[in-house]
Amino acid sequence: MRIAIASGKGGTGKTLLATGLARVLTDSHKASVSLLDCDVEEPNDHLFLAVEVEQVETVSLPVPRIDAQRCKACGRCAQVCAFHALALVRDKVLFFPQLCHSCGSCVLQCPEHAIAEVARPLGRLEFGRAGEIAFGQGVLEVGQAMATPLIRGLKERAAEHLPECALTLLDAPPGNACPVVETLRGADYAILVTEPTPFGLHDLQIAVELAGRELGIPIGVVVNRVGLGDRGVEEYCRATALPILLRLPFDRRIAEAYAHGKLWVDALPEYRGELLWLYERVVELTGALL
């Protein structure tokens, strides 16, 4: 089973939930777990888990290189590039790598076969173990724009580098754009983590629209920091019949453990039972056989 943990709004507790769940499920032998940190712009799971990295891979994207000898400056490449990454200026083709989506159209369309592709590093993938947890993460290189291909690579390569597990947890990036879609694609269930504030509610509604309506993934909600804020999230979930799987209270001790990079379910074992219950609830809702 593949469970994605997403949120819309950042900082609601995705990483908290993903790392806590992975630890509790492996410790209790409920399920073998692989955890993929798909927030490649700001991967944080590794800060809370003692990860032993076993394999590192560079992910590159093919980008065009123009053979100046062959190029007749016809401008066809600039014409077909939908992302304006190529421009013909006087008799020379200029390339803007930040804009390139690596679609390969310019290579296919150049009548002189003057364009070859070279690898441009985008970031790296790391695979290893954190105790019993099989772990993978992507790390986008600073200054690079394209997170989505790195997430795609992480999911593809995990199949090869990590042992097969009963459960794969995918810790999604914040937002509702293409990197989140890439993370959610293929998930059997999505847990949306929110907080009881107008920001939390607003962004939850967008995440529900994306995961539930656009992608058709069954969804449930975890409300974090209950006690702060207002009743808007509760009322919205009731009105739309969205299951609330778990309510975590605003507990300074969780915040404190988290602040210092301690895994909260180790520091506060009284929360372990709730996470096991959450997992059983998801299993029940998806009808998964494990």
Binding site: E42, V142, A147, A177, E256, A259
Partner: protein, 301 residues
Amino acid sequence: MTEWVVLSGKGGTGKTSVAAALAHLASQEVTVALADADVDAANLELVLSPDMIEEHDFSGGQVAVIDPRQCTSCGRCAEVCRFGAIPLGGPYAVDALACEGCAACYYACPVGAIRTEDQLTGHWYRSDSLAGPLVHARLRPGKENSGKLVMQVKMVTRALAVRTGADLLLVDGPPGIGCPVIAAASGANLALLVTEPTVSGRHDLERILGTARHFRVPAAVCVNKADLSLSLTQEIESFCRNEGVPMVGRVPFDEAVVRALVNRRPVTMTSSGPAAEALVGLWRNLRDEYLVEERRAEPAA
């Protein structure tokens, strides 16, 4: 005009609460224009009571469409597609969510059975808010090209700021370090990096600082919820000292911030407690250091 962008790397550190307070405080002294560049989860509008004046469709890209009557099922489109939007072996139809709009298939189809259509990827809005004109947007969930919509929001706000003689253009940025962040930061005079005293906040600060430097945007740091861990706040401060990045604010955790949010107001409007007081200090530091002087003295007509 000076342009500031509020960024954080990590989400949920308080970018929008800080941006809303700065917008409110700045608007009492200078002319402000505002842009919400977090187009996938725009929240600034929730606390600045905007009255919408204009709404516009935004088409940030294209999507390929195959005409089944003309398609000969040769499979060339699936071969050239690098985004898995057309299944190899057919049936040859485009998954619009996976399609990047590169048009490789359109050019490759030997019988001209593929066309590209503009894709409605979002909307942008111009509103009047309690702190000045606000340009904000909404990306349709799951759509590509949030960076392009961010650029659109910024270009509209810049034009508006010039027209209204604004002294300050304040941009509330998205989390992360990727495409929409780069679009939000490009051309700014200052990136205010809002962090929090957690190992994640600290880790992500390094990456967003690297990003600001990569694109040559000067940076300054504000620690939010600073009293949640004084030791980590000190660690962040010494990191900033070593990196030569100015520390311009230290805002304590204060439930008044959450209460203000529930009441849909900047905290500086509803409270004079510790967070509001620290935000006033932050605004004064930024104003004195980073607001271009001649503009402050004499706003354009």
